[in-house]
Symmetry: none
Subunit: 397 residues, 2 copies
């Protein structure tokens, strides 16, 4: 585990600016966390942007006592702090160092730097837990359809030992966590507030179950409120730490579409479950599929594994439609079969003429059709068999 | 109109080989229809493939008497023959001369040549009717969802003066035709049998309604049976004659997915309506979207117009579903409106009874419909207004 000074410096810096602030992350990358904090406290940060970023909260006083209190609270709660200096820091988060979104004036679209630290509740080492992980995100105002699909995908992924990551919110998030738990799998909720804050409160029992077998993680120190912008700031972590993101139900401008756009920007598999076009909860999903070429439509776990799985290890079986005995007939046999009258018999000559095949072919194919049970020979001609028989078992499709 | 000899030759050649047969089409392209038929009758076709293609049916006798009979029957039925020599031949069909599908052994995938002729019931010149046309195809075993979407898309397209083309089958096809008819639009059913054969029989009334204001067309002469492979042969015409094809609901291996694959091969807009991943009727649609990059997800009429419309002429507003004046009507008003005869008047009593509402409600809703310009009062009853009026400007959708 990293030494306490590093931990303290990183927590203190997190208290000085919202997670994701690029200038602060750059400062830490350049000078290390302890020197970066010292520069901040002395008011002598060379970079003006970084200086401005921490100025307001610094004016409220030295952040170190609060950082120490946060670490003490976390210890009391059974939570731990994980920092990039630790071996278990998830490598996927490094993608946030370089990700850039198309021009946007919104802070949450510009300030996408990796977290400075992570508060964690649960036993699993972070990097192990995220190694084979897929995010499932979507609307809070989900429909039964969306919840069903999210639960089903999460169950299927957990069964195949993939970690299911989501945001712990109502609707799709909760359905995804529950699906993974139901399969006895590992699930991670990435929160947008202090680790001890069960938000939404109605999900308290769910959070406790997740922490028992999986992980609750957050960038914010104990006591931090779930402020609205924090959900959007948090989303970049969900997209970056996982191997791919699945979107299940989203209205036209929902936070969940933002998460998958982050995944696209980081060139991670961006998967979208479609839905009825008559549902407002499909609009965001369909727009992502329409407007973002890398976004891939997925309809089941096999499709997801095709995107995120290792070749060979996670094979997706090719599409199988229902097989009809008639599908195995070639064109000439099909035409002949179709040329038979619905009642009564037809001579091979007449059948050949109607089907447009020569008489030798007609006789050969009619014999085949008889063998397969499609036609019967009667009164010197051929008639449709009373009931088309299935192909013999030893004649596979 | 083309001269009778050309007509006769083309019909006779159609009788000798199933439509789409490349060798026969090439023969006609090289020698013209009359010389091509003469070569066939003399047994002296230079090209062996073409010789083989017509051999079987030629053995049954000279096709000219049957061709003459077919033309006479058509005339008696009020149908006409249109051939490529006619000005009204739809130009889109030329794409079939060059289209090639990835390797397949199936006859219907290889033999994609343009039709030799078209039997037509209805007043519209073919090329005019197909000029601004979109195909809507899908499963016969459709769900309420699919039928709703197909009807809605067809209604919206017809309202914007696009022709809706489909195959006249149960399910999605019928819903598409009905949607276009409900909007007072032009719709075309491309049949896979003789023009006089209402197939499926249960759609007889629908076919009659289509022929009244739109078109029934087919490559097969009067009397031809709707043999199974003919539906697949027919599909290439639906894809080629239209500006784009929309797929609404298809099981994993349905004929409708074949139609849209034809559209993709001809580089026509290939549009797919997604659906719930929990529905077997979505599987074919989603597979097309997953496996064929040119296929585009569409969720509403605006999306369709973006694909097939002329830039500037058919503007697609982002993320806005189309609003129909009818959408603002409640169920009772809609039922009453639907209960009105297409021609002539109906008494309020009769309308109430057909719509299944009480007479007081009927009178109130009919007054509303009159105010909105959907119906007019005439001879003590109500009649459909000549042209559905837009809602008043100050009553936004």
């Amino acid at each position: 585990m990293a030494d306490t000074e590093i931990q303290l410096a990183r927590v203190a810096l997190t208290l000085l600016a919202e997670p994701g602030t690029r200038a602060v992350h750059r400062l830490v990358a350049r000078h290390g966390p302890r020197a970066a904090l010292a520069l901040a406290l002395s008011g002598e940060i060379p970079d003006e942007t970084a200086r401005d970023a921490v100025a307001a909260r610094l004016a409220a006083g030295d952040p170190r006592p609060a950082a120490e209190a946060a670490l003490a609270t976390a210890a009391r709660l059974g939570a731990r702090l994980v920092v990039p200096e630790d071996a278990e820091w998830p490598p996927g988060l490094a993608a946030l160092e370089v990700v850039q979104l198309s021009v946007s004036d919104r802070r949450v679209d510009r300030e996408l730097a990796p977290p400075l630290c992570m508060w964690v509740r649960g036993e699993w080492p972070l990097s192990d837990a995220f190694d084979r992980s897929v995010a499932i995100v979507g609307s809070r105002a989900s429909t039964q359809y969306g919840e069903h699909v999210a639960t089903d995908l999460a169950y299927g992924l957990a069964e195949r030992e993939w970690t299911v990551v989501s945001g712990g919110a109502f609707g799709i998030d909760a359905a995804a966590h529950r699906g993974a738990l139901a399969a006895g799998g590992l699930t991670i909720a990435v929160l947008a507030c202090g680790i001890e804050r069960a938000y939404p409160v109605a999900n308290t029992a769910l959070f406790d179950r997740i922490a028992e077998t999986g992980l609750l993680i957050t960038e914010w120190p104990p006591g931090a409120d779930p402020l609205r912008p924090r959900f959007l700031i948090r989303n970049r972590v969900i997209a970056a730490a996982t191997r791919g993101t699945i979107l299940v139900e989203a209205a036209a401008r929902s936070g969940a579409t933002q998460t998958i756009r982050r995944a696209i920007a980081m060139r991670r598999p961006a998967m979208v479950v479609p839905g009825p076009v008559t549902s407002a909860m499909s609009v965001g999903c369909h727009e992502i599929l329409r407007l973002h070429e890398p976004a891939r439509l997925v309809a089941n776990v096999s499709h997801v594994l095709e995107e995120v799985g290792r070749i060979g290890a996670d094979l997706a079986p090719p599409l199988m439609g229902p097989q009809h005995p008639r599908d195995q007939l070639d064109d000439q046999a099909t035409f002949l079969l179709e040329s038979l009258p619905r009642r009564g018999t037809i001579s091979p000559d007449a059948a050949a003429s109607r089907a447009g095949v020569d008489i030798r072919t007609a006789l050969r194919k009619l014999t085949l059709l008889e063998t397969l049970g499609f036609v019967v020979r009667r009164e010197g001609g051929y008639a449709l068999a009373p009931q088309p028989r299935r192909l013999p078992e030893n004649d596979p499709p």
